[in-house]
Symmetry: D3
Subunit: 63 residues, 6 copies
Amino acid sequence: MPTLHVELFAGRSKEQKRELVAGLTRETCRVLGCEPGAVDIILIDVERDQWATGGTLWSEKDS
Amino acid sequence: MPTLHVELFAGRSKEQKRELVAGLTRETCRVLGCEPGAVDIILIDVERDQWATGGTLWSEKDS
Amino acid sequence: MPTLHVELFAGRSKEQKRELVAGLTRETCRVLGCEPGAVDIILIDVERDQWATGGTLWSEKDS
Amino acid sequence: MPTLHVELFAGRSKEQKRELVAGLTRETCRVLGCEPGAVDIILIDVERDQWATGGTLWSEKDS
Amino acid sequence: MPTLHVELFAGRSKEQKRELVAGLTRETCRVLGCEPGAVDIILIDVERDQWATGGTLWSEKDS
Amino acid sequence: MPTLHVELFAGRSKEQKRELVAGLTRETCRVLGCEPGAVDIILIDVERDQWATGGTLWSEKDS
């Protein structure tokens, strides 16, 4: 049942994504005591020109 | 007012999407008694390498 | 795999919710050809003082 | 802490997005009295063939 | 069409919420050139024991 | 920057929530190499009569 939506900057490698969903599932099952098959994780890649903090898009923070 | 967000595997045809939003709107209006114009549906295509169940990305379940 | 999030005004009856999830699941399976067990639906009750359209909260539209 | 997710039709210019996140952050801080650095905004571009109102995809409303 | 979801700490007054949705709608219309009636805003009150930053729930940051 | 939304059945204890946000933050930082302070997690309690799988609300699966 637990469903996780993970928003992160676009550009992560396939290995990182594989490792991330495995680790988050493991922790969720460890703490909540649920089965791995009950855990859904959706990764949402967000481009830096679509994410702003403090009123500035991250794509423009270094310029 | 009802707003539906539908996450589904990427790759569905235009016809399926057309049929899906029509059917979901019809059902929502039938049950809730609202007007079709009040129903918003946003389809969210999720790639199989962005969706994990049981700690494994769906893009890697068959490999 | 299809996951639906349905935002609707709070206050619907249990019967309506039961009927709504059954109907939406039926339509989703009919159009996408997936199994009912693969369809997750999360209903999100939104109070009228938490939903605004046109800059006005729905709880204050009739006042 | 305030986090805003803004769903809008795809196709807006970089200038509009820059102006939008600045304006929304300014208003959020003005009303809530929080610091700009506490405000996160994620822009979500939605294609017209992924957004339906009244049972019809916006990409097909003009056809 | 623009739809905004605003997650904020629970506890804000009705006046702040009224002012916030008005201001966010005004800014959205000003920048995107859309009609106020096309803008939906959903406020999501999040309790401090449901929001964590840096691995600690905000309800426990001051203890 | 990574933001996690975790939907889970309502009713978990404060200790479980504390442990869950700590573990998910640790894993996210370990895999993505980000700072804990950059990780936001929002827990979303979903009542069993608001979550359906296979067309049936979880509150009615045992009846």
